[in-house]
């Protein structure tokens, strides 16, 4: 029994084991680092397969040597508890550390060290790394699409104005506070629509008209997501109420509507809006492509929002309904002042997930020929002057989308904490 335990440290001879264990782990990591950063193999004298697996063996032995139930040394105990509970865990830990060390140099060299950002043509990109020149030259197109360069100030001004107006809610006095919901649900969307209609689209007030086909890039992503967010929420709320209604006709129509939109992929909905929907409109009636897309996405996402809100409505205890009714409230009063405020609070994470899905779905509008940022990337990729830089473009777009989506999910998490009320 003693023999089996001979590599196990105990509190008396801890130091010996500690030093030899740490030494072995250090050697293992050093070997991998040399291999990764300096492209040299310090265990070259060994056969290939042994040299390949040696750091793992050394590290595993090292971790085995320092594994002790309780040592009294704070850091060592923390280490053992978190990444070194048994041999399997230790090997996994080592593999992850090695993978990180191995992937740093190629990542760094592609992203920064060998990358090019100077110059204006493809010829400037001579390094083996990324060609950020491509992004730099096309940045304008990626953000504004085909919108004429000299008119881009119109997009900038309307976006700045919209962001500014959105922050009004942060500085109200008590007096205007009760109008805030009205402001965000009704007035703000109207202002947004007016700004976008008159300023970005133009055509009146002496501004040149820019057709929606020329809109594109990141700004189009924002416009589509913004309007769909605004429209899908109230529609979804009414659908959820309809599905919970005790009037059979209303209930079945809502169920049918919700299940229909939830059962089909967005891409077929967009197909419908682009090729099938015009057939259903009066002949002389023209509806812009962008408007059709926004209606289609709003209805689609509204079905998902409806299901999320229904979850919240179902989670509320019956007592809330009964209490509101016993105070003599009617249907609408009960829902607006008692039920919905509580139900919506419960479903913040679900709503945020739906909105995230909406933002991530916007690239699909390429189906109807609108080119937001991913569509612009695909267009730029096929430009004969800039062939072969697909990777840079997709990485760039991925970073932008990741930042937007991650920020949204963190914000919703904060909202959830903020509105959490304990019963």
């Amino acid at each position: 029994m003693n023999k089996l335990n001979f590599l196990k440290p105990d509190i008396d001879n801890l130091n010996t084991y500690l030093y030899s264990g740490i030494f072995l782990i250090f050697i293992a990591i050093l070997d991998v680092s040399f291999n990764s950063f300096l492209k040299t193999n310090i265990t070259n004298f060994l056969p290939n397969s042994i040299s390949f697996i040696l750091p793992l063996i050394l590290g595993a032995i090292g971790f085995h040597l320092i594994r002790i139930e309780f040592s009294g040394i704070k850091n060592l105990d923390l280490l053992n508890k978190n990444i070194n509970t048994n041999t399997f865990n230790a090997v996994l830990t080592l593999l992850i550390i090695f993978a990180i060390i191995k992937s740093i140099p190629p990542f760094l060299s592609w992203f920064f060290i060998d990358a090019t950002i100077s110059g204006d043509t493809k010829e400037a990109c001579t390094g083996t790394g990324a060609c950020w020149t491509y992004i730099k030259i096309w940045l304008n197109r990626f953000i504004y699409g085909m919108y004429p360069n000299e008119l881009q100030w119109r997009i900038n001004i309307s976006f700045i104005a919209l962001i500014g107006l959105a922050f009004i809610g942060l500085l109200p006095s008590e007096k205007v506070k009760k109008f805030l919901t009205l402001y965000y649900v009704v007035i703000y969307p109207i202002i947004a629509f007016i700004l976008i209609y008159y300023l970005i689209s133009g055509g009146s007030l002496g501004l040149e008209w820019v057709e929606t086909g020329a809109w594109g890039g990141l700004s189009l992503t924002f416009i589509v997501s913004f309007f769909c967010l605004i429209f899908c929420f109230p529609i979804g709320m009414f659908l959820a109420l309809g599905r919970r209604s005790d009037l059979p006709t209303v209930r079945y129509i809502s169920i049918g509507f919700i299940e229909f939109w939830r059962g089909v992929p967005l891409i077929t909905v967009l197909f419908m809006s682009s090729v099938m929907f015009p057939m259903f409109l009066p002949e002389d009636f023209f509806m812009d492509k962008l408007v059709r897309v926004i209606i289609a996405i709003s209805l689609f996402e509204a079905a998902y929002v409806a299901e999320v809100i229904r979850g919240g409505l179902q989670a509320l205890p019956r007592g809330q309904y009964d209490a509101a009714k016993s105070l003599g409230m009617g249907y609408w009063k009960m829902y607006i002042f008692v039920i919905l405020p509580q139900a919506l609070k419960l479903v913040i994470p679900g709503i945020a997930n739906t909105f995230l899905a909406l933002v991530k779905d916007t690239p699909l509008i390429f189906v109807v020929g609108l080119l937001e940022i991913v569509g612009m990337l695909n267009l730029a990729k096929t430009n004969p002057k800039w062939l072969g830089y697909a990777m840079e473009g997709y990485v760039f777009a991925a970073i932008i989308f990741w930042i937007i989506c991650y920020a949204m999910s963190k914000y919703s998490y904060n909202l959830e904490i903020k509105y959490k009320t304990d019963r």
Partner: protein, 383 residues
């Protein structure tokens, strides 16, 4: 009286509004189709399609009908969904369990994976794999085989193909094995309930599953050969693989992106399910003397699965619907073949788009019905 009127009027109003909207749309459609001289009808389905499809599971060329083209698209969609579901389930379960690991590094790596892949639009990921990652692969003539038989090239993945003889007998043997395993399982349960004896069901099942098919090789005349892909020079610059099974890069990119993306959501479902089991359950099971394996099998998993399966099925449905993004990289799925090419050729927008939507709708609804039935079956039965 007043009370009843209160209920009837809103219903009538809603019904009237819906009928009016539908009537208005149908009327317009009628007028538009009359003007263009199109008859509404599904007769076009039996016409010759006269377009080719790059990748098809069943025999198909331009001389077949549009109905056949529809079937090709549907099968290709189901193929992507099937592979994607398997890939995402394996990955999702591993990552979900890794997120609960006591090892800090493993937990963080899994969390990084989830946060990274689910915050990037799926379409972008498909484009990335197809246009950026898979385009960096070598040409067929420069490809080094993996394990001697797999060739991963810019033209796709080429793997050995099975060449079976008397395949039907092999299938029958597998069916026979499954039936006998079910019978043995029932028998073992009865035996345990009546006499408390335990039969090693698992090892018997594995044995049966291996031995019965093996017997068909020995005495049933079943044989299996491999057709290994070989590079063949068509002209000075053009190379092609002969034999074997070619998997097109579109399929690889699509299944990879769908699998990696959906796995993040499945991982969260798995994590929520396992976390949903209270510690008391495990301790109670341990205190009545169950072994760790029995605790997992008899106490934790049945309860965790009850939480995990409904949202996971939802993710499978999402994956199937998302597979329609195949159209973006020209993988011939239902949307590309039918709502794309067939629609262009026939111009029958209403019929084709409705058929496509109804197909997806019926897949979704049938799975939902199945799910509701399952949920009712496994719901905790309170007495």
């Amino acid at each position: 009286m007043n009370f009843k009127l209160n209920k009837i009027i809103p219903q009538l109003a809603t019904l009237l509004a819906v009928i009016l909207v539908f009537g208005f749309l149908t009327y317009n459609a009628q007028v538009n189709m009359d003007n263009r001289g199109i008859e509404f009808g599904f007769g076009f389905l039996s016409q010759e399609s006269s377009f080719d499809v790059q990748f098809s599971l069943i025999d198909y060329d331009g001389s077949h009908s549009y109905a056949r083209a529809y079937l090709v698209g549907l099968l290709n969609t189901l193929l992507v969904a099937f592979i994607g579901i398997i890939l995402s389930t394996i990955l999702g379960v591993i990552v979900g369990i890794a997120r609960l690991s006591p090892n800090y590094l493993i937990e963080r790596t899994a969390a990084f994976y989830v946060e990274f892949f689910r915050n990037i639009p799926l379409l972008l990921q498909i484009f990335f794999w197809y246009f950026a990652a898979l385009r960096a692969l070598p040409l067929p003539q420069d490809t080094e085989p993996m394990f001697g038989v797999f060739f991963l090239t810019i033209k796709g993945l080429f793997v050995p193909r099975f060449v079976w003889e008397n395949l039907d007998i092999f299938f029958y043997s597998i069916i026979a094995a499954i039936i006998s395993i079910v019978v043995i399982k029932n028998y073992a349960r009865k035996l345990q309930e009546s006499q408390g004896k335990q039969v090693p069901v698992f090892s018997i099942s594995v044995g049966l599953f291996i031995i019965l098919p093996l017997l068909t090789f020995l005495i049933g005349g079943v044989s299996l050969n491999f057709s290994i892909p070989e590079l063949e020079q068509m002209s000075t610059t053009s190379f092609k693989y002969k034999g074997g099974l070619g998997i097109p890069p579109e399929l690889i990119a699509l299944t990879l992106a769908l699998g990696l993306y959906t796995a993040t959501f499945i991982a969260e479902c798995v994590r929520a399910g396992i976390q949903g089991i209270s510690k008391g359950q495990k301790e109670a099971a341990a205190s009545i003397g169950l072994t760790p394996r029995q605790i997992l099998k008899l106490v934790v998993m049945p309860q965790a699965l009850r939480i995990i399966i409904p949202p996971t099925t939802n993710q499978y449905l999402n994956l199937t619907k998302n597979s329609s993004l195949a159209a973006a990289i020209a993988y011939p799925d239902l949307v590309l073949i039918f709502a794309g090419t067939a629609l262009m050729q026939t111009g029958r927008a209403i019929e084709i788009v409705s058929i496509t939507m109804l197909t997806y709708l019926s897949i979704s609804l049938s799975i939902s019905v199945l799910m509701n039935w399952y949920n009712k079956k496994i719901a905790i039965k309170e007495k």
